[in-house]
C-alpha cells in the first residue's frame, strides 16, 4: 500500500511566473501531508469530454495544506488548465511514484534542472540535510525559473542558457562538467536531476564517467499514473542485472542512472 489518495483539490492561486510558465497552488491536505521529494500528482483536466487522460505534474512546493505545480502551456491539456481560477475544484491522484532518496549530511548534493524540471527538485533541496549547488539550464532566460527559492534555502545557484541571455552560454551539463573538472575535488558528490531526456543522459554519462551516483527523474507520457496501463515504460535494469520494461510512473519516476538502459544501448544489444 502506498500513500496514494484521490482528492478533490481547490485552486488557491493560479498565476504567471515568467515566459509562459504558470504556478498553480492547490489545497489538498491529504496529498500535501503525504508528499515526499520527487513525487508527482496526476491531475484531472477540465473539459473531460475530449480529454480522457490525466496529466502528471511534479509536486513543486508543499506549504501547510497546499501543494503547487509549475507548468507551461504546451498542449491541449495544459491549454485547458488555463481557465482554472481560485475556488475551482479539480481532482488529484497522488502523491505518486518513487521520488528522490534524501541523502545524508556527509554528501555534497548537486542538483541539475532543465526548464520546469526544477519543480521536481525543490522539496529535495529543502529536505536535504546538506546544502550544495543547483545547476539550472534552459533555452533562454525565460526558462530559468524560481532560482531565488533555492537561494533562499541556502543553495548556490549556477545558470546556463543556450542563447546566453542569462548565466553562461551553453548547455547546463557543459557548465556542470566544467565545474566537476575544476572545483569538485574531494567532495562526496551525489547528483539529482530532472529535465529533458538529453540532459538526463548527459548527467548519466558524467556520473558514470566519474564513478558517482546520479538520481534521474524521468519524464514520459503517462496513461494511468499508477502502474496499471504500462504506457510509460522504459528499459530498467533490476537487481541481478535483468533488464525489463519498468514503469516510470510507479517504479520511478526517479531511477539511479545505472538502472536505466538507454535506447542506443538497446540497439547494440544482440
Amino acid at each position: 500500500m502506498s500513500d496514494m489518495r484521490l482528492e478533490n483539490a481547490t485552486v488557491v492561486k493560479h498565476e504567471p511566473v515568467r515566459g509562459g510558465y504558470r504556478l498553480l497552488v492547490l489545497k489538498c491536505r491529504a496529498i500535501a501531508d503525504a508528499t515526499k521529494p520527487g513525487q508527482f500528482v496526476h491531475m484531472r483536466i477540465p473539459s473531460q469530454e475530449v480529454l480522457v487522460l490525466r496529466r502528471p505534474f511534479s509536486i513543486f512546493k508543499v506549504h501547510e495544506d497546499t501543494i503547487s505545480v509549475l507548468y507551461k502551456k504546451v498542449g491541449r491539456g495544459t491549454a485547458a488548465m488555463d481557465a482554472l481560477k481560485a475556488g475551482d475544484n479539480i481532482s488529484l491522484l497522488g502523491p505518486l511514484g518513487k521520488g528522490f532518496p534524501v541523502g545524508g549530511p556527509e554528501l555534497f548534493p548537486i542538483l541539475v534542472a532543465g526548464g520546469y524540471g526544477i519543480a521536481a527538485l525543490y522539496l529535495l533541496a529543502k529536505q536535504f540535510p546538506a546544502r550544495g549547488i543547483i545547476f539550472v539550464g534552459g533555452k533562454t532566460a525565460d526558462d530559468i525559473l524560481c532560482t531565488e527559492d533555492f537561494t533562499a534555502l541556502g543553495w548556490s545557484v549556477r545558470v546556463a542558457t543556450e542563447d546566453g541571455s542569462i548565466g553562461e552560454r551553453g548547455l547546463v551539463t557543459e557548465l556542470l562538467t566544467r565545474w566537476m573538472d575544476k572545483e569538485s575535488a574531494g567532495a562526496s558528490i551525489e547528483l539529482y536531476a530532472c529535465g529533458p531526456d538529453g540532459m538526463l543522459r548527459a548527467v548519466s554519462n558524467l556520473a558514470r564517467g566519474c564513478g558517482l551516483r546520479a538520481w534521474l527523474s524521468m519524464d514520459k507520457h503517462m496513461g494511468c499514473g499508477v502502474g496499471a496501463c504500462l504506457a510509460c515504460v522504459c528499459r530498467i535494469r533490476y537487481d541481478g542485472g535483468q533488464v525489463r520494461m519498468g514503469r516510470v510512473c510507479k517504479d520511478g519516476p526517479v531511477f539511479e542512472c545505472r538502472q536505466i538502459a538507454w535506447d542506443n544501448e538497446i540497439t547494440t544489444k544482440t
Partner: protein, 329 residues
Amino acid sequence: MKSRPKLEVAIGNIRMKNPVTVASGTFGYGPEYADVVDLNRLGAIVVKGISLEPWEGNQTPRMVEVAGGLVNAIGLQNPGVGGFVKEYMPFLRKYDVPVIVNIWGRTIEEYADVAAGFEDVDGIAGLELNISCPNIKAGGIAFGTDAGMAKRVITAVRKATSLTLIPKLSPNVPDISVFARIAEDCGADAVSLINSMPAMVIDTETRRPVLANLTGGLTGPAIHSVAVKLVWQAAKAVKIPVIGMGGITSAREAIEFILAGATAVAVGTANFTDPGVTMSVIEGIEAYLVRHGFSSVKDIIGAVELPPVDRAGGASKVKVRRTGRKGCS
C-alpha cells in the same frame, strides 16, 4: 419502504454481486488501484492479458490521447502465467471478488497451454480469451477476425479449461453475430465485446506515426456508440450472456449496454480519467433501477424498446429513402 433493487448477475459459473467489472488492461492486476477503489465492491476484476511466458510488449510511445479517447499499442506486456500467479494471486485472494484472467497466445497450442496453466490455480473464476488485440503481429486479432481460426482456438481452450470461458470479440468484423455464435457453439460461457478499434495517429510536424507500433487500438467515449450497436447485435444472436464494454464513463453508458442486451459491463479507459468511476457506475445503475421501478437489473437486460416496424419483421422491411447521391442516405 421498498427493498433495494437486486444487482446480482451470473456469467457462466461466476456470481457477480453487481454487473460492473473492469476492462482488461485498464486496471492492471488489481493492486494498482486498491488504494482508491474498494475492490470488494466490484462485480469482478478482469486482469491484464497473460501469456505463457513473460512478454516485453511494444516499444514506446505506446499511448496517445485523441478526441474522446486514446489510441494504445502496449503490446500485451505481462509477467507470464507463472509470474502473474506468484506476484499477484496472493494479493487477489485476499479479496472477495471473482478474478477473471485475460489470456492470449501466439498459437492455438499456446492459448490452450495458458488456459491449462490456470486450471488448478486457487482463486481464479474465469478466463477471458483475447482473440482481438490489434497490437501484436502473431496471435491476437488474427484469431478473432477469421471464423475458422476463432472456432479452432475457442474449441482448444474449451477443452483445456473447466473455468468460465469468455472469448473477447473484435469489432473489426463484418458481422459480429457470426463470431458470437461461433463462441457459443464452441462451448463458451459468455462473450465480451468490444475490444479496441484499429486506429492510427500521425504527428503532422514530424510526419511520422505517433505510436512506435505505427497503429494501435482506439478506446474511450469515442467508440461507445459503436460498441452499443455491436453488443445489441451479438446479444440477439446468442443465448449465452454478453459483457458489454467500450467508452463507459458513467452509469448511463453502462445502462445502454444492458438495455442493448449485456448482462454485465466493463469500465475501461475511464479508470484512467477517474479511478473511482466503477463505484459511481454501480451506484448509478442502482439509482436508475429505483427511479424506473425495477426490482432487479435482470429486468432491463435487453429491454431496449424497438419501434413496431422492427418487431414486425426487422429492419429489412424499412424503406430506405435514397438521396440519389453516392453513399448512404
